[in-house]
C-alpha cells in the first residue's frame, strides 16, 4: 500500500532531524556546538535521501519501466 508523498516527506524530515541530533551529540559535547551543527547534518541527510528518491523515480518511469 502506497502512502501519501507529503506524509513520506514529513517522515523523512522527522527521521533526518533525529539522525542529526544523534550525529551532532556523538560529535560534540557542548550545547552550542550541538545546536550549531544539527541543522546542517539533518538537511544534508534529508537532501541526499530525497535525491536518491528522485533518481529512483526517474529510472522507474523511464529505462526500468517494464513497458519501455
Amino acid at each position: 500500500m502506497m502512502g501519501s508523498p507529503i506524509v513520506m516527506i514529513l517522515l523523512l524530515l522527522f527521521f533526518s532531524a533525529v539522525l542529526g541530533v544523534v550525529a551532532s551529540c556523538y560529535r560534540f559535547d557542548s550545547k552550542k556546538e550541538i545546536l550549531d551543527s544539527l541543522p546542517r547534518r539533518a538537511l544534508t541527510f534529508a537532501l541526499v535521501v530525497a535525491g536518491f528518491a528522485v533518481v529512483a523515480y526517474l529510472l522507474s518511469a523511464t529505462v526500468l519501466m517494464p513497458s519501455a
Binding site: 517522515l11 533525529v18 559535547d29 550541538i34
Partner: protein
C-alpha cells in the same frame, strides 16, 4: 576541545581488552579477574538466570532464529543474536537442546514465548554491558587522581543510557544533551510503533529487525511486553516506515550508549596529570 586523543595508558588498555573478552565469554568473569566478587556474582547470576529462564519459557524456540557456523557438519559457533552476548552459555545450550520446530511443533503453541525471547535477549545485552562495566571499573581504578575515582563508572553511564535513552548523559552532568538525545530517540521509537499500530515488535515476523528494536533497552523491552496482545488487522500504509524507525531508534540508542561511555571515560582521563591539555 579535542577528546579523541585521550586514552588510557597502554597497560590499562591491554587489561581492558582482556577484561572485555572474558566478560563476554562468561558475564562476571572480567569482574572476578579484578577481584570484584560481588559484581562478578551479580552479573553472572543475572545473565544466567535470564538466559535459562528465557530458554525455558520459550521452550528453546530461540534456536530457530540462529544458525550454526562451522566446517562441514562440525559446528564451531552457533550464531544467535543478541543471546550470544552471553557467549559460552548460549553455545552450551545450543548444543544441548534442539529448537521445537525440529520436533514438529510450532512456536505459537508456547504461551510465554515472547517473555522468554525478551529475557534471553536481555541476558545477551547484560553480557555485553557487564564487559562495559568491568572495563569502566578498570579505567577508574587505574586513574591516579583521587577525584577521578569518585566519578561515575563509564560502564554504568552506558548501562543507564541503555535502560533509558539520555539517562547516562544526564547523570554525568550533560543535562541538555541527555534530554535532547533521550527525547529524540524515544520520539522516533514511539512514532515508529504508532505507524505499525503497536503490533510490529515481533521476533517471529522479522527476527533481524527485532534485534534492532531490542537495542532500545529498558523502554523497548517494556513496550514489547505491553504491546504483545496487539495484532495487525489490516495492511498499514506506513508500517514499513514504522519498522525502520523503531529499528533505527534501537541502533541510535546503542550509539548514544557508546557516547555516554566515551564521555564518562573522558571525564576521568582529563584529570590525569599527563593528559592536561588546558594550556
Amino acid at each position: 576541545m579535542i577528546t579523541q586523543d585521550l586514552a588510557p595508558c597502554e597497560s590499562t588498555r591491554a587489561q581492558i581488552s582482556s577484561t572485555v573478552w572474558f566478560s563476554v565469554l562468561i558475564p562476571g568473569l572480567g569482574h572476578l579477574l579484578q577481584k570484584q566478587r560481588g559484581w562478578a556474582l551479580f552479573w553472572f547470576a543475572a545473565s544466567q538466570f535470564l538466559l535459562i529462564g528465557g530458554f525455558y519459557l520459550a521452550d528453546f524456540s530461540q534456536l530457530d532464529y540462529g544458525s550454526p557456523i562451522g566446517i562441514g557438519d562440525n559446528t564451531i559457533i552457533y550464531f544467535l543474536i543478541p543471546e550470544s552476548g552471553n557467549f559460552l552459555s548460549t553455545q552450551i545450550f545450543a548444543r544441548m537442546y534442539d529448537s521445537i520446530e525440529s520436533g514438529g511443533r510450532y512456536p505459537t503453541e508456547i504461551p510465554w514465548r515472547n517473555l522468554g525471547y525478551i529475557m534471553s535477549a536481555m541476558s545477551g545485552f547484560f553480557g555485553l554491558f557487564s564487559a562495559a562495566h568491568a572495563a569502566g571499573m578498570l579505567s577508574r581504578s587505574s586513574a591516579r587522581s583521587s577525584h577521578a575515582k569518585t566519578l561515575m563508572n563509564p560502564g554504568r553511564a552506558a548501562l543507564l543510557n541503555f535502560i533509558l535513552p539520555g539517562l547516562g548523559h544526564y547523570k554525568t552532568g550533560r543535562k541538555f544533551k541527555g534530554v535532547l538525545l533521550g527525547s529524540s530517540i524515544m520520539a522516533l521509537f514511539i512514532v515508529g510503533m504508532m505507524l505499525g499500530n503497536w503490533a510490529d515488535f515481533d521476533r517471529q515476523r522479522h527476527s533481524y529487525y527485532w534485534v534492532g528494536q531490542m537495542c532500545m533497552g529498558g523502554s523497548g523491552w517494556l513496550t514489547a511486553l505491553i504491546s504483545e496482545p496487539a495484532k495487525f488487522t489490516s495492511v498499514m500504509p506506513y508500517q514499513d516506515v514504522g519498522l525502520l524507525f523503531t529499528t533505527a531508534a534501537g541502533f541510535f540508542n546503542i550509539v548514544a550508549s557508546l557516547d555516554a561511555f566515551h564521555r564518562a571515560e573522558h571525564d576521568i582521563l582529563i584529570l590525569e596529570p599527563s593528559n592536561d591539555i588546558s594550556e
